[in-house]
Subunit: 390 residues, 2 copies
């Protein structure tokens, strides 16, 4: 493992595990959710609020930051963490996912990805080498190899090409990463596994990627077309093939229940825009039973007229800036209806706190060997309709 980093498993319960990942920018207790700050900013949430929520890692995106504010600005300022005033750890995605999400503006070539900027139409050649150099300059705690991400339900041929290309780029990524290493300022580099819903290709991708010796491994190519049962079936087979003594990161997943289901397969790290994006559309994630040891989940759509006169906070015992200051559901309903950005601010903060609390409860359940019961209670929402807004 790279200097300055260490990884240890604190407990496990079935395939679920609780680990400690020490980095030069703080300790990460897993399972861990990483808030998404694509452009160097978690939408609507101050860094100090992220810290208060218990977030230890924030995610940003190489492609977006290369276009704006651009590499030279971030180099001058000393990286993304300094730029956005975030003292915790930073994980940067490489830009491979944007080749999928911005596909109309993209051409994937053997040498790398050619983007037509979504901002001004200029061309960006994102090679593995540039992705590595950029993430060094960004002061990323954890960098990601450049990969090619395709829809998980693509044809075998398409999936195979992506696996092969990702493996080649992984090789070039790690070579350049090592070349640019600065002693005393070592950072982690994760490889990314592709292969969609094809088990043989996932196995091939794992074989090719693990051979290169990364600091951790990510499962890419999920949350891009498949449904949850398909994903879980694949994760159950694939996650155990990843080294037990290194972090396992499932990219882009997901909703609260998805996270716990993935933990059940052995995943450690997550990122997703759901808590902030949902906050901006008036949706709050809550625990349905605050006073029990079960963990039924409730999703509240604050736009719903049922909240018009509801003087309760979202949750009585939630320590987030929204609940803790006593804002009522009635007020949140009003803010959402009135189009006030304060609604997005309060609900995004609440949801990020919720995700951290969910991960903490999950970790406790693993450590206390009661993960199976916990897992059942999380799934209950969907099974018996206890969701108050269902």
């Amino acid at each position: 493992m790279t200097q300055g980093f260490s990884f240890s498993q604190d407990a496990c319960d079935g395939a679920a595990r609780a680990c400690t990942y020490s980095t030069p920018h703080g300790v990460i207790r897993t399972p861990c959710f990483m808030p998404v700050g694509t452009q160097g900013c978690v939408k609507g949430v101050f860094p100090q609020t992220l810290a208060a929520s218990g977030a230890s890692v924030v995610l940003a995106n190489t492609y977006h930051l290369l276009l704006r504010p651009r590499l030279e600005v971030l180099e001058r300022i000393g990286g993304v963490r300094a730029f956005m005033r975030w003292q915790g750890a930073l994980l940067t995605d490489s830009g491979g996912f944007q080749a999928l999400s911005l596909q109309d503006l993209v051409k994937v070539e053997e040498g790398g990805i050619v983007f037509r900027s979504h901002i001004d139409g200029t061309t960006l050649h994102l090679t593995p080498e540039l992705a590595m150099h950029a993430q060094r300059s960004f002061d990323s705690t954890i960098a990601m190899a450049l990969d090619e991400c395709v829809p998980s339900t693509s044809s075998v041929e398409r999936l195979r090409t992506a696996v092969e290309r990702s493996a080649l780029w992984a090789e070039r990524s790690i070579a350049h990463w090592r070349k640019e290493n600065i002693e005393g300022k070592e950072r982690a580099l994760f490889g990314i596994i592709q292969g969609g819903l094809n088990l043989a290709l996932r196995r091939l991708s794992i074989e090719r990627t693990l051979a290169l010796g990364f600091d951790g491994y990510a499962l890419g190519g999920f949350a891009v077309g498949e449904n949850a049962p398909q994903r879980n079936a694949m994760l159950e087979r694939v996650a155990p093939m990843l080294p037990a003594n290194q972090p396992r990161y499932l990219m882009g997943v997901g909703k609260p229940r998805d996270l716990v289901e993935s933990v059940a397969c052995g995943i450690d790290l997550f990122d997703c825009v759901v808590p902030t994006r949902s906050g901006r559309t008036g949706q709050a994630f809550c625990f349905a039973d605050e006073d029990t040891d079960t963990t039924r989940l409730a999703t509240r759509n604050l736009r719903n007229a049922r909240y018009k006169n509801d003087v309760q906070p979202l949750e009585q015992t939630c320590p987030c800036p929204c609940c803790e200051q006593g804002f009522s559901r009635a007020y949140l309903h009003h803010l959402v209806k009135a189009g006030e950005m304060m609604a997005s601010m309060l609900l995004s903060a609440h949801n990020l706190f919720f995700y951290q609390r969910l991960m903490t409860r999950t970790r406790e359940a693993v450590c206390e060997q009661r993960f199976a019961k916990f897992f059942d209670s999380v799934r209950e929402q969907h099974d018996d309709g206890h969701n108050p807004d269902a």
Copy 2:
């Protein structure tokens, strides 16, 4: 003066004055700027941030709150202060200004204002009696009489009608206000002077309104069509006609320099959307010289490319959440360009802190009998082009 309220002049320097207005919801030191929270929310700024900025009064709007969330919701919840979690004082405008700003949806009749809701098209008959009843239910610290506001440059006939109607409504307002008074929960009611740029009509309006015996007096009908020299010329004549032993409130004004110019005429209270609206368009108000006792003003447009690599905070010594956390101008530039709501949040908070700091410096200058010099330095920005962005 109404029970629970007291007003005293602490110092004066020329016509400028520094007063203390004690209310059941806190002490207001003047000159005082009141942040605008039209719909029961100051856009993008948490109540605790308002309190930290030194704001003692927040403004909300009767018309908007009557339409949404509606009177019955606010009655059930115990008023606007409880609803928005604001512990300081609350001033509510009556809705007279909306008859002007939403004129396509409005018919002004002798009995009151008939609004077609800008939300759902339903009809709202805003009478003086309803305006008073609503503001009682809102738990407003300071309520405003219902007035008719017309453009300041309207014809004499139009201005005269507005003055007469405002006087009649003021009479009905105060009568109903007294009728609904609850012992031990007395609140203040201010009258509003109209008359546009016509001195004789201003004098008439003052005469008619003062005769009714309000707790304070507001100058309405400014910032609705005239330019700053026209306004200042009128304020110089009109402000001294208002009782010295009661608060004087200039409605809807203005930019930083406008406030100081109005203080020079004897105004105590202000409200304006400029600090938050400017924040949402990427503009920051700053002191140009932080280390001197002068107060040149600088307006920074963070969208400007000059800030791309500027690692300084907006101001070194500003205690706002933006400057204090060390966000650089380069980062603010990035956030504005990237369309992140964080830009609005940080700049709105900074601007509200700036307005409070400006009022504090103004008060100090009055108390220390150096207002004239202070006034000159504030005006310097516009006179000599020292504004770094000019």
